[in-house]
Amino acid sequence: MSSHHSHIERHIEPRWMRNAFIAASVGFVGLLILLPVISVFTEAFRKGVAFYFTSISDPLAMSALRLTLITAGVTLAANLVFGLAASWVIAKFSFRGRNLLLSLIDLPFAVSPVISGLVFVLLFGAQGWFGESLSRHGVHIIFATPGVILATIFVTFPFIARELIPLMQEQGAEEEEAAVLLGANGWQTFRRVTLPNIRWALVYGVVLANARAMGEFGAVSVVSGHIRGRTNTLPLHVEILYNEYNFSAAFAVASLLALLALVTLAAKTVLEWRIRVEERSVVMENVMEEVA
């Protein structure tokens, strides 16, 4: 997303104006965004390094970390399989209703976090559509791990598919057609031809989905029931500690999530560069074909 154009110096604004714009931008972003990031880490270490490590190695923090990792793992696997299937059918075939399918995949982006949790409570909660019959059979989804996972899958639903579809559409189906005509079966074609072409976009989608899966708060908060040691994820654990006025411990756990966000942003920058290389090679091939 970052700017990737050559910087032609076109300073025609008067110098005072240019300086005022730079000062306003740096001041606004510094106060609004940088300050909170710094404060997470200073608040986390306010009571010292020893307290910090006690807070993040607390058994309840550990069980929250475990649930967060399990949730992210299941979510990513499920949405990865979906992303590959959806991008394969949308990018390699042309069929009626393809654009409608594309818009439906984007739908969860337009749904706010609390509503993303609410829909599952309406289905599986105590007074939901299937709630009573499920609880009669001893199946618990809301206020249990499956609900947390379902809500997380919902909010990260479009992430991977959305990275893959435009790239695969750009790449077209010629290489796959050639592979099939040369005798490769579907799986071989996918593994040997398609996958190498999309690997960086795939990693990119997984990285973004992972950040959201591990950090999701609103949707998970509605379905989890906040049962300590059982249905608490890391962000929910932060909330509980904070509401108990255990601020330093809350910020210590929050600093782990902030670190994850910073690593994600760094990975995103590197991957965007790799994907541009990937795309450029596609563009070059198309140009070469036209020239030939």
């Binding site: 970052s2 700017s3 110096e9 076109r10 300073h11 025609i12 008067p14 104006m17 714009f21 306003a24 931008s25 740096v26 972003v29 106060l31 609004l32 909170p36 990031v37 404060s39 399989v81 979906f82 959806a86 059918v89 390699k92 075939f93 069929f95 009626r96 399918l101 439906l104 739908l107 337009a110 749904v111 706010s112 976090p113 609390v114 509503i115 609410l118 829909v119 599952f120 309406l122 007074q127 939901g128 379902l150 919902f154 639903f157 057609e177 005509l181 579907g186 591990m214 950090g215 999701e216 708060f217 962000p235 932060v238 904070y242 601020f247 999530l257 902030a258 966000a261 994600t264 920058t269």
Partner: protein, 278 residues
Amino acid sequence: MTRLRQHSVIPGFGLTLGYTLSYLSLIVLIPLSALSVKGAAQPWSQFSEAVFDPRTLAAWRLTFGTAFVASLVNAFFGLIVAWTLVRYEFPGRRFLDALIDVPFALPTAVSGIALTAIYSQNGWMGRWLQPLGIKAAFSPLGIVIALTFIGLPFIVRTVQPAVEDLDPAVEEASSLLGASRLTTMWRVILPALQPALVAGFITAFARSLGEYGSVIFISGNMPMKTEIASLLIVTKLEQFDYAGAAAIGLLMLVSSFVLLFLVNVGQWWSTRHLRRTA
């Protein structure tokens, strides 16, 4: 099946389409229709009581009002930031550019408690605002700050490409015709950026309406005063008032769908309009 699609030698159409549709229905379509049915299939009196009672009305006013103010602040500063990032070369430009994405990546609960710590009366900002008689945390102003935080990337990342796509020839023509730089910026550049700015504004506004994690810590959550609509849904669910929660949720869902639909129509219209004038 062959009628449905053009012929292709590539295998896997039936399998991948079937899987995509089933997964989409199970995870997205059925849950969303549960909300629509549960929200809409109740007597009007019950629906309107859930959606228009005084406490909920106050929450609507607060949610829409703070989202509007925050998006307006972001439209102003976001435009300046996007312009600065594209047009000027200065030390730290790349770092500033990377910072814009932080609200996308930082979990909302983390930004929520961090903003609260900064703007409460002993915080880094709060201690300066307190003597001025400005109460930031636990007031509507705090909600505006949180929504400004989460909304900024939506505006900057929408306006940035539009600044990159500006045709330098138009600016040059304007200055050759004798316009001062200020006139060019006001009369030529700003109108060209307007569609992107409006699209960014509406996207940030729509996103702010449903924001939860970054708001509930700094808002204080006092009924009638600092209680947002999302929190009201959570409160109703805790009281097992599913129908009431669904009614509010449905209205929020419809508002954000309408807003995002407007953005799409606007983009479609402006590309068509631009093509015709070109």
